[in-house]
């Protein structure tokens, strides 16, 4: 894990509200694994005070990518960064996806910005694995396909692709891939992860989900980001024990 002052190599708007940020960050680039995240300092001042967590979207040589939306003040400040600005990032943090194994197809289920970690995952999958990506969004102009392949789209308002949630789309389409052995990788808002988890558990699918939590430190010292373990007896930390969990291990 590193604290790295990373220079902006590029920042690009890839749809009306989503930005793709490329940073020169050799230490993090060389050690990161798909599904991990960084805690990013968005301001030099004390307001906003805390770092902001972002999934590592991809790694390319000594550079890393983040994909983000303008959500509140922190992401707004981030969107104002310019070429050669320095951004202090802390990472790579957390446990990533477990993606080796004997399955044949990686079934990606992404809601909204949940797309973020998958370009990196797809890059690192061994070449013999197939990919089937399901992406959901509120409407057409928010669908994120960046870095994915073999994509099926669902929108809440039906403006493009399947009319409904991405989990409903998955249910409908799973039969076509169900002949192969597959593993599901999910990332998106917690309510969506909950629906995915339920579906996967009912069908005993191999499934990993990446969850969100409010965070202060991002690496296990503040205890700010608990998620209940499925036994109900204890809490795990999203930042340190996650953000990716086996769907069977946690209560969302």
């Amino acid at each position: 894990m590193y604290i790295e002052k990373a220079k902006v190599e590029s920042i690009e708007k890839i749809n009306e509200q989503t930005f793709l940020l490329k940073l020169f960050s050799p230490s993090i680039a060389s050690s990161a694994k798909p599904g991990q995240f960084c805690n990013v300092k968005v301001s030099e001042r004390t307001d906003p005070l805390l770092r902001r967590p972002f999934s590592i979207c991809n790694v390319e040589g000594e550079s890393i990518y983040f994909l983000f939306d303008i959500h509140g003040e922190g992401t707004k400040l981030l969107s104002h960064k310019k070429f050669e600005d320095e951004i202090e990032i802390l990472g790579p943090l957390g446990k990533g996806f477990v993606y080796d194994g004997s399955y044949e197809t990686a079934v990606i289920v992404a809601g909204g910005l949940g797309t973020a970690p998958f370009p990196f995952l797809i890059n690192r999958l061994s070449k013999d694995k197939k990919v089937a990506a399901f992406v959901g969004a509120r409407s057409k102009n928010l669908v994120l396909q960046h870095g994915l392949k073999n994509i099926s789209v669902a929108t809440d308002d039906g403006s493009v692709g399947f009319h409904g949630t991405v989990v409903d789309l998955l249910k409908k389409e799973i039969s076509s891939i169900a002949k192969n052995k597959f593993r599901i990788f999910g990332c998106g808002p917690n309510p969506m992860m909950k629906a995915l988890q339920k579906y996967a558990m009912e069908n005993n699918f191999d499934c990993q989900i990446s969850v969100e939590a409010a965070m202060a430190c991002g690496f296990g010292i503040c205890q700010g980001c608990p998620i209940e373990a499925s036994d109900g007896e204890s809490y795990l930390l999203v930042c340190k024990d996650g953000p990716v969990f086996d769907a069977k291990k946690v209560k969302i």
Binding site: M1, L50, A216, G220, I221, C222, G224, C225, P226
Partner: protein
């Protein structure tokens, strides 16, 4: 010029005044990946209780202007597991270990101290009195001057190791509490713990923190913390560990000037886990520039 960075907190000798605060450094292992803890004056453990505590349900934290609220609920492994699983790592750190204890009865404080006091690695106890007092109706010990006196007295009777009472800022006159600590044999006080605060979601009308209220920390509270330290310094002759919103070496100097013998870093660790080492460097540099031979001479050197 070689600068003497060492400080004394009563009988407790520290190689320098920079400590990491309870609840913001866990048991040292995670933050050690980002910083060299052996350089620091010491670390204070997360509050330990007699039995392990699961802590509060989420959401436990929320950001506020230049600050944050937390209601972790004293999640900790308990004293037994601490001794078995955490002490071995802490022993290797080559920094002073201060054990912070939380309890909801006076007896429980004493019991924790009795279990822990045999551990050589533990050099002092910091008593967190900002926990609800179950027996006496759920009010905080920290706001009850008699309770603070009794806790100090009983813990004092249980151990010869230095005892630091960590004071609550949610009181009218914190110096009265420091006086009680002194009278009952406490070695030092830490000031301050967090201030009670809250934050609501205007759409759901629910508290953003599940526990409804949380403790406010970070730069927002620095002016309050400084005033509390100054108030104690001007009224009671007891060593003070200054805490509250320290972000950089300048803040640390400010706390020492108003009366702190040492300082603790809390929230800043989340933002910059290497802050302790950087602050230490800054303090040394400040001394060099100002020809200060003993860093401890800063303590209480205010010009009013």
């Amino acid at each position: 010029m070689s600068i003497d960075l060492s400080v004394n907190i009563g009988a407790l000798k520290l190689k320098n005044p920079v400590l990491l605060a309870s609840g913001t450094v866990g048991y040292g292992n995670e933050i050690a990946q980002f910083t060299d803890l052996s350089k620091l004056g010491g670390i204070v453990t997360k509050s330990l209780s007699l039995k392990p505590r699961k802590g509060n349900p989420p959401q436990r934290i929320v950001e506020t202007p230049s600050g944050m609220l937390n209601a972790i609920g004293l999640a900790n492994v308990g004293v037994e597991v601490f001794i078995k699983e955490k002490i071995p790592f802490l022993k290797e750190l080559n920094t002073t270990l201060i054990c912070n204890i939380a309890a909801s009865t006076i007896e429980e404080y004493v019991e924790c101290v009795n279990i822990l006091k045999g551990e050589e690695t533990i050099k002092a106890f910091e008593i967190n009195v900002s926990c609800p007092n179950v027996k006496e109706g759920g009010l905080e010990f920290g706001n009850d001057i008699n309770a603070v006196g009794r806790i100090t007295e009983k813990v004092r009777a249980a151990t010869n190791k230095p005892i630091i009472i960590k004071l609550s800022p949610n009181v009218s006159r914190i110096s009265d509490f420091a006086k009680t600590v002194k009278q009952n044999g406490g070695d030092a006080v830490s000031a301050i713990n967090t201030l009670v605060g809250t934050s609501f979601d205007i759409n759901t009308r629910r508290p953003k923190i599940k526990n409804v209220t949380g403790g406010l920390s970070g730069p927002a509270i620095k002016p309050i913390a400084l005033a509390k330290v100054l108030e104690i310094k001007r009224n009671v002759d007891i060593p003070i560990i200054g805490i509250g919103g320290i972000m950089n070496w300048k803040d640390a100097v400010e706390f020492m000037i108003v009366g702190a013998s040492a300082i603790q870093l809390g929230t800043v660790n989340f933002i910059n886990p290497n802050a302790g080492v950087e602050i230490l460097q800054g303090l040394e540099e400040y001394c060099r520039k100002n020809s200060i031979e003993k860093l401890s001479s800063l303590t209480g050197s205010y010009q009013i």
